[in-house]
Amino acid sequence: MNTLNEEPKRQQRLGKHWARRTHRVLGVSSVTFIFLISLTGLVLNHADTLKLSTHYISGPVMLGLYGIDAPPVETAFEARGVIFATADNKLFANGQLMADEVEALRGAITKDDVIVLATDNEFFIVTQSAELVERFAPDVSGLTGRLGTDGQLAVADIDSHQFVFDTNSMRLQSLPGITNVTWSQAVTPSQQQVANIAATSLGKTLSWERVLSDLHSGRILPTVGRYLADITAICLLYLCVTGIFLWFRRR
């Protein structure tokens, strides 16, 4: 009988215990953060399967949050009415992405029925409809400074030495003394093309994996986010400790 009377009192004491009260308050208040961390963690665990690194966010709000601006157009050249430009290590043809991992463009010329492009360290053969036929990085020391033509040959100026570029074998041959070379001149792309380049480039800048990873770690919000993540982690640890403590007390 005595025991029966004491049990509700014990429960009442336990209910008022500081550990239970703080456990309850912290548990309820950290629900949102725990839910966010668990959900993003789950999704990130399957990032490869879900192809999160190759799916991108292009919304202006998110890009603004990350301070990502449109990349400037480095250089642009025109051939057969197509404007070729490099920006953010990408090659664009009339504002459309053509190739990744590209250095600055140094010239664009027409040779026979194709267009030849030269970057610092590569040559590109492109059709008149701006389809990439082949790209090739010759093993030469030095960077291409200019690309031109004497009307028949594609001539590259590499460290002030003239080379002829064979578009079939994709080989460079040192051939000094070529005269009447018309060097490709840089042009300024239209505003519409710059806008297209910006849209295409920005569209492949911020991956879902990066955003979810930052959400998971709290880095999505500068400074504050990290502290919020720290507080959530401390809350979780506290909930673990007080949970075990209360479980033992009840027994």
């Binding site: 690194s53 991992e101 990439l132 036929v133 082949e134 090739f136 074998s169 080989r171």
Partner: protein
């Protein structure tokens, strides 16, 4: 162990770890000229191209899981071998691979350039040796499975796709040569 000995040990281990990481870092492991010299015994071997016609484009798209990036693929060859340099994206950046095929079997497989921060372990022989003597199996896939590397899944997949592509294109060039010889 005295404190001086402990400090020395930590210093030596740190230097060794740093050295190991520096060696393993992404970068150019072999230039194209070096690869061709090793593969075909000359710096400037004969080269030819394979044009991606509609039929081949479908096959390549099936092998790679995406359409080919270029309209033609260059390869180098001698009397019995073909050498292929293939750029294939692992996670975000292309991995440059050099593959030599002889008698429809992979003779050598090497990573020429790795640009990403993770997955460079595929350059080591414990991985690349798996490709030796592999050939095309059923439905133009590889004759044997390739063991993966933990943490380098996407690089392993890119390497496997590239090896498969080299075998498919080598087979195509052989058929093309035979057809040309028959026509003559």
């Amino acid at each position: 162990m005295g404190s001086k000995s402990l400090i020395s040990l930590v210093f030596v281990v740190s230097i060794a770890l740093y050295g190991a990481l520096a060696i393993a870092a992404p970068g150019v492991y072999q230039t194209r000229t070096e690869f061709l010299q090793e593969a075909l015994g000359t710096e400037k071997p004969d080269s030819d191209v394979v044009w991606m016609n509609a039929e081949l484009r479908n096959v390549v798209t099936k092998v790679l899981g995406h359409p080919p990036a270029m309209l033609r693929m260059r390869y180098w060859y001698d009397a019995s071998r073909t050498a292929w340099i293939i750029d294939e994206i692992g996670k975000e950046k292309p991995i440059t691979l050099g593959i030599v095929v002889e008698n429809q079997e992979i003779q050598s497989f090497s990573v020429l350039q790795f640009r990403e921060s993770r997955g460079w372990e595929i350059r080591y022989p414990f991985f690349t040796n798996q490709f030796a003597a592999l050939r095309l199996g059923k439905s133009r896939s590889m004759s044997q499975d390739i063991d993966g590397i933990s943490g380098a899944t996407l690089s392993v997949r890119a390497a496997t796709r590239s090896a498969n592509l080299a075998l498919v294109l080598d087979e195509y060039t052989k058929r093309r040569t035979q057809a040309a010889a028959t026509t003559r």
